[in-house]
Structure formats: C-alpha cells, structure tokens
Amino acid sequence: MKSVLKHFIYILIIFSSLSLSAQNVKLVKFDDVETFMNRQTDTTYVINFWATWCNPCVHELPNFGKLDSTYHNQKIKVLLVSLDFPKEFNTKLIPFVSKKKIQTEVWLLNDPDYNAWIDKVDPSWSGSIPATLVLNNKLKMKKFNEKELNLEELNALVKPFMSQNDHQ
C-alpha cells in the first residue's frame, strides 16, 4: 500500500511539473498578429519580435516575463512573436521555451514575406530585431522601439500606458 502511494505521488509530481513548464506555441500568419493588434479593448498589448538565433533578443527576453508581475491585476497582455525558422520549431524553439520556462505566450510567425507586413507593425521599423510594440486601442496609444531593452527601458516604455488605467 505504501509503495503504491509513493508511486502515485511521484506520478502526480511529474504531471504537475510538466503542465507548469509546457505551453502551446502557436504557429501563425501575420493576419493573426494583425487581428491581435486590432483588438478593441482597454488592455495594453506588448508585442516583442524576437528569435532564438538573435542574441540581443534572447538577452532581453526575461524582462518581458517580469511585466506580468509588475502589472499584476492590471490589464496587460504580453506576446512574444518569434521569427525562428519554421523547420526549427521542434528542434530549436520548443526546447528553448521549455528550457527557459517561458510562461509568456509565444507565437511562431511563419510569414516569410517580411516586406509585405513589416510596415503594418510600424512604418519606421527597419526590420531588425529585437523590436517591441506597445499599444492600447482604447487609449489610442502606440509606441514602437527597435532595440534591445533592459528592464528599466522596458518599464519606462510600458508605464505611460498603465498609469492611464484605473486600478481595479
């Protein structure tokens, strides 16, 4: 009886740790990103464009994970849009997300005709990553920054959007 309980506990631990670290990374087209950008809500959306092959992107990524706790209980949604090679979805992206325990939602944007949609994110965007877009459609506010952001810089970028909202 004792050993059955032990095994049950082990299995429970394994399953719970698996569900904590796993997230379903969606494979999307730019239309999906555009739909997301156009959501008519009072939530502040933070969209970071990155890739596992981009070192400055990987370096700043943890800062985006901190936004949820910084703005706990406020209306903010962070989305990490990866421009990784689709053929490396399982070999590079998923292992990376799992290893780094990334809880923030990750999408793989499989829309390689970049020239067709870069300007829709921001006309000033040269195409280099990392790049971050912060927007709030209710407040009609939008800010785009094409550089690696340290925590201080990211917070400074997001803060004006959040201080406009009532704390609920």
Binding site: A51, C54, F85, P112, N115, A116, I118, S128, K147, N150
Partner: protein, 215 residues
C-alpha cells in the same frame, strides 16, 4: 562635510558607471538612399589582397554589395543563394562583393580568420571583405545581415539602385515568390528602371563596436 561629499560622489558614480556598462553599442543612423552615389572602399579580402570598388576589374557594369557574416543563421540560410547570384551576374558585369562588418570582439565566429575558413568551406567565388573599422557599413547604412545594395556604374560613380532583401523567403528557397535582387539586376541590364528598389527584411543586427572598444 568633505567626507560626506566624497561619499555622495562615489555612491553616485556607481549607477553612472553601471549605465555606461549597460549601454549597448549604438547603431549609427543615416546611410544611402536609392539614387545616392556610393563611396569607394578598400578592404582586406580573405586571400590577403585589398579589394576596392573603384578598381575591382569584375565590376564593369556595377556590383551587388552584400553585408553578411559567418554567424548569423539568416545569413547562413542565404549563403548558397549569394553564391548563385555571383555565378549568374559576375560574368554580366555585376559581381557580388560580400562585406563582413561585425565586431569580432562581439562575435568571435565573425573574425577575419573565421571568414577565411567559411569562404573555403563554402567555396565563395567572390570577394569576402573585412570591414574592420565598420566605416563602410556606417556609410552605406547597413543595419543587418544580409543587407543588399545593388550599385550601377555611371561613369566613375557607383549609384545605388536597390536596397534591401535578397528575396522574400529566408526559410525556403523553393518557395520564393519575389527574387528582389535578381529582378533589380535584370532590369538594370535591360536598361530599365528598377521597379522595386527598396524592401525590408529580418536579419541579425550588425554587431557594432561598443564605445569602450573604439579608440
């Protein structure tokens, strides 16, 4: 009073120093627009020779200048296509000239010695030049790898006719719909105006030297 002052100054120095250390290398702004004349350059090739745009004997009608590097996976994905561009256009007067402007202190894989190795491995049949001072990337306004500038010879000048991506699919060569550079060069060879002279693409940012590294 003096000691307190000293203490304040030394405490204040810490965040200032931290900020300086945290500051990443800044990309220069500016660069060429389509229609500008590109400056000449004289850069070291992987065979030890110096190649200059003005005296490169293959650049009879123009040149396909490509800022690229060793380490960037996007640049790597385009290596074969860059070789193919040279195979197609060098004999027609538009040779490829590849330039690596990355700071090897930032990425060891992009050192001159490693450039030689990569060129040999892949059988690069075009100059692969080392822009050690990053002057040329700065002058052109190259921001990432790969980044293409198609130049057409007009008298002694080299005029910029196209800036941007090689094509519209870094992931799958067989799924390419628009071969931007090929179309541009074909149009120039036919004496036509380039129909799409500017495109944007994703690539690895050029690794600029930090303030500490430059002297």
């Amino acid at each position: 009073m003096k000691n307190k002052f000293k203490k304040t100054i030394s405490l204040a120095a810490i965040p200032v120093l931290a900020l300086l250390v945290m500051t990443s290398a800044k990309a220069p702004s500016g660069g060429y627009k389509v229609g500008d004349n590109a400056r000449d350059f004289s850069l070291k090739n992987i065979d030890g020779s110096t190649v200059s745009l003005s005296s490169f004997n293959k650049a009879t009608k123009g040149a396909i200048v490509i800022f690229t590097c060793n380490h960037c996976p996007v640049a790597q994905a385009y290596q074969d296509r860059i070789i193919a561009l040279n195979n197609k256009y060098q004999s027609q007067g538009y040779p490829v000239i590849a330039i690596n402007s990355n700071d090897p202190e930032a990425v060891a894989a992009d050192s001159y010695e490693n450039m030689k190795i990569r060129a040999k491995e892949k059988g690069f049949n075009f100059p692969y030049l080392f822009d050690q001072t990053q002057e040329i990337a700065t002058a052109y306004g190259a921001t990432k790898t790969p980044h293409v500038f198609v130049l057409q010879k007009e008298g002694n000048a080299f005029n910029v006719k196209y800036i941007g991506a090689i094509d519209d699919n870094k992931d799958d060569e067989t799924a390419v719909k628009h071969k931007y550079v090929e179309t541009a060069v074909n149009e120039l060879l036919a004496g036509k105006k380039v129909s799409q002279n500017f495109t944007k693409a994703i690539g690895c940012g050029i690794k600029w030297k930090t303030a500490a590294a430059t002297n």
